[in-house]
């Protein structure tokens, strides 16, 4: 067989071979179709090339499509370059994590911190008043 294109899906935290095509266009079409189907979060197509010097098979990414949940919506990122998608997805994931963190740490902690500071101030004030009273009682009576 001539040049082959391996379609892989990211499943159970690893890339797994799903199917193999001798046609790049068809492999990419199927990758898109699988991604649109909703079950796969990441699908990629690798081109198999046999190194004429070593006779070994080398795999080169030629297409990658990833889905990521952002702000409650699903976004699809695709590229002919595996690394480019990887970087973009990473940026999107980081952005989403920051957004979630900000949402999580929004108004509630601020109020808690302010209340705690207020409590400390009240306690310190009460202690100071009690101290002054006790001093005055001891020295003026």
């Amino acid at each position: 067989m001539g040049g082959l294109y391996e379609l892989q899906v990211f499943r159970d935290r690893a890339w797994q071979v799903d199917s193999v095509f001798d046609d790049k266009e068809l492999a990419i079409e199927e990758a898109r179709r699988m991604s649109e189907g909703g079950r796969q979060l990441a699908v990629r197509v690798l081109e198999e090339r046999i190194d004429p010097n070593t006779g070994r098979t080398a795999l080169r990414p030629v297409f990658r499509i990833s889905k990521i949940q952002r702000s409650g919506k699903t976004e699809i990122v695709e590229s002919q370059n595996d690394d480019a998608v990887e970087r973009r997805v990473e940026r999107m994931v980081q952005g989403e994590q920051v957004r979630r963190r900000n949402n999580r740490t929004g108004w509630l902690p601020t109020i808690v911190v302010r209340l705690a500071l207020l409590a400390v101030l009240i306690a310190a004030g009460s202690w100071a008043v009690a101290f002054v009273r006790a001093y005055l009682d001891r020295h003026l009576s």
């Binding site: 001798d22 068809l26 079409e29």
Partner: protein, 151 residues
């Protein structure tokens, strides 16, 4: 956008439909078994499909061959071993890369062209998919073609 009306697109659509069917049957397993498919497979792909099954001798034997493939061969090879098949037929081409499927344990789709017995150029696209539980015990295949006049 993919053109879904050209002969090439129609050929590809069949192959991808069979692949979806195979995945659906497999569910969370690596592959479905021949018993999941039954005999014959679902209606809309039945005519273009075939099933090969390993027998005790280790040889692959046709268990089912769709009507369109039977018509192309002028006979029904069901029950015959693979070795009885002429390689220069559409079915022969569709099973020619079976060793790669057995080795990779994954569906493979291959297209190509050949000159048939009547001297016509036949363009085809095929897919072979493994079936089995712990090991591959059978293969599901599907192939469609068109005859072209080369100037």
């Amino acid at each position: 956008m993919t053109d879904t009306t050209t002969p090439r697109a129609l050929e590809q659509r069949l192959v991808l439909r069979v692949l979806s069917y195979w995945r659906e049957l497999a569910g969370t397993r690596p592959m479905p078994t021949v018993y999941d498919i039954g005999n014959p497979p679902v209606d809309d792909i039945r005519e273009d499909c075939f099933i090969l099954e390993f027998v005790e001798s280790g040889e692959l034997v046709f268990r089912f061959v769709g009507a369109r493939q039977q018509a192309a061969l002028d006979s029904d090879p069901a029950g015959l071993p693979l070795s009885a098949l002429d390689e220069e037929t559409l079915l022969g081409r569709a099973v020619s890369y079976r060793d790669h499927v057995l080795e990779r344990k994954a569906p493979i789709s291959v297209g190509g062209q050949f000159i048939d017995a009547d001297g016509r150029t036949v363009l085809y696209r095929s897919i072979l998919l493994p079936l089995g539980k712990n090991a591959i015990t059978a293969l599901l295949g599907c192939v469609n073609s068109r005859t072209v006049v080369l100037e």
